[in-house]
Symmetry: C2
Subunit: 329 residues, 2 copies
């Protein structure tokens, strides 16, 4: 079995998750970690793997089959994706839905010119949830999609709370509304306002002397993040936050409720659900499986940008087509 | 938008489901129905579509982009699949798991020689459930798969009961054991015997004078079909059976429970569920979406046999790659 040599660019929660996920795969090895920090300051788990400055990455292109980009979507990936696609086959988890078309175009141009392959927006949403929306919509054209997220920690919303004056630390959970999920499962195809789909639970540590009422008001009225939701704020101590809210669980549901028959008399429900103890480790596991696919597709000569929609499922697996048909079909 | 011309081979529940599913697709039309019965005896739903003897099918090959084979796996498809792959691109729902490798080989040889493309074992299991097993296993290599079927009507088991002396009619439901599903959802990775995963509920109409005790014993002790399960037998009138058990609902769950992290400390659960009012109409809907993919792949010059594992998801949709990335990714 061929061993694919994988590089990691960026060693935060996601990069470390990639390192862990590679250990579970029979045909992949970690070749190098690239970082913008001082490499000497990083302590990685895998022995005898070089930690190198990101600026040196191009010099190591020959040693790496696929580079997994573990930076953020706001500022890292828009710059790093196209720049690194000039030197590597890449996979990333770009998740700013509204900017996907522009990012795809930039990545496609860079990768095509360098004859590399770049897969964008891999993870669970975008990623596995997107795949389910595509499969379910193609199979049941007469129907409606619903995506619910949670119960899980939203890092963006937690960060937004931490920027409120008087807040020392915070953790925010996105919670699907059970009655809404059940209405969809019953095939009622409800019209759901933002407020009816999810609630937001905030665990907040105040700075000494901060006014709880003012902090709560600033949170629940914050536009974009909280104003459109029913939000509850719980004030806790730093010890409680560290003890009870240190994890990064997440998950959610994609449902498609459709109808078939001469008079649309038969309800058909497709549901996909994730329940994740660790969001970054699961996202990393998806990235790693798709890195295998990128290595195989690149070896066949494919170049340019791709999404999960373009990747034949068999390419994710280390098994042969015959094995897959015999064991999983 | 190109319109794909689709043929149906075999007009039972599944063939009729394909006819209905084609009506929901914007870019597909029914070109012909082929049957082994007297064509004049068939009353199809779509006006101005020819119903033709199956033996005439090869003469109409030029009018059909993809032929959907709606025969049974026991005797129809092993013969019809390779024979029709010599004249058409085909899709079928071959579902005898143990014989998939042999059937694939026969189909592949016939399709390659004729430069056609044939996609086998499309539906929900095999089909969408197989895809989920593949994606989930590639993403969570350290984990276990569970597939549960039901609550739904098993036509094979219903037929087996109808062959018992003294039985006039019957309907059998396969029912997943809730405690087993819940144990899997909790991440317990239980070892489950056949009896612990599913129960079987039978609704049976006796012939006049038949002995209920003898019929019940013959059912619950029937090897392969019932002996390994906890089976309940309910005797009902033909009127009750026709009134309460006329539908063909089905569904089920694929779950993969895995672990990630330095010491496998994070449980990760992937669940896919179907709840179907009409099993044949849903299976037909999957066949039709994959017929579109076959038409596109064949137009690109692909030949031979394929499974759902080989088909890039985007090929199932009528939308362009850019539209899919903008709306579903």
């Amino acid at each position: 079995m061929k061993t694919y040599r994988i590089g990691i660019c960026g060693y935060g929660n996601l990069g470390r998750g990639v390192e862990l996920a590679l250990r579970q795969q029979p045909d992949m090895s970690l070749a190098a970690v690239f970082t913008r920090r001082d490499p000497a300051s990083l302590s990685i788990l895998t022995p005898n793997v070089p930690v190198l400055p990101l600026s040196d990455a191009p010099a190591h292109a020959k040693d790496i089959d696929v580079l997994i980009l573990c930076g953020g979507s706001a500022t890292d990936l828009p710059e790093q994706g196209p720049a690194l696609a000039r030197h590597f086959n890449t996979v990333d988890s770009f998740d700013t839905h509204a900017h996907i078309p522009d990012y795809f175009a930039a990545l496609d141009a860079a990768a095509k010119e360098a004859r590399h392959l770049s897969l964008l927006s891999v993870g669970w949403d975008p990623g596995l949830f997107s795949l389910l929306r595509l499969y379910a919509g193609a199979v049941l054209p007469d129907g409606r999609d619903y995506t619910f997220w949670g119960r899980g920690v939203s890092q963006g919303h937690s960060d937004a709370i931490r920027r409120v004056p008087g807040v020392a630390d915070a953790r925010q959970y996105t919670v699907p509304v059970p009655a809404a999920v059940e209405a969809v499962r019953r095939g009622e195809n409800p019209d759901l306002a933002t407020r009816e789909k999810h609630t937001r639970e905030c665990y907040v540590v105040l700075k000494p002397g901060a006014d709880p009422a003012a902090v709560e008001k600033a949170i629940v009225e914050m536009p974009n993040y909280f104003a459109d939701y029913d939000t509850t704020v719980h004030f806790v101590s730093q010890e409680e936050l560290d003890r009870d809210h240190a994890g990064l669980p997440h998950g959610g549901f994609v449902l498609r409720s459709g109808a078939t028959g001469e008079n649309a008399e038969h309800k058909q429900l497709i549901e996909f659900a994730l329940k994740l103890d660790s969001n970054p480790e699961f996202t990393a596991s998806v990235l790693v499986a798709y890195a295998r696919a990128v290595a195989k597709l690149a070896a066949e000569g494919q170049t340019g940008a791709r999404s999960v929609f373009d990747v034949p499922p068999a390419y994710l697996s280390p098994r042969t087509g015959a094995e897959l048909r015999r064991t999983l079909l």
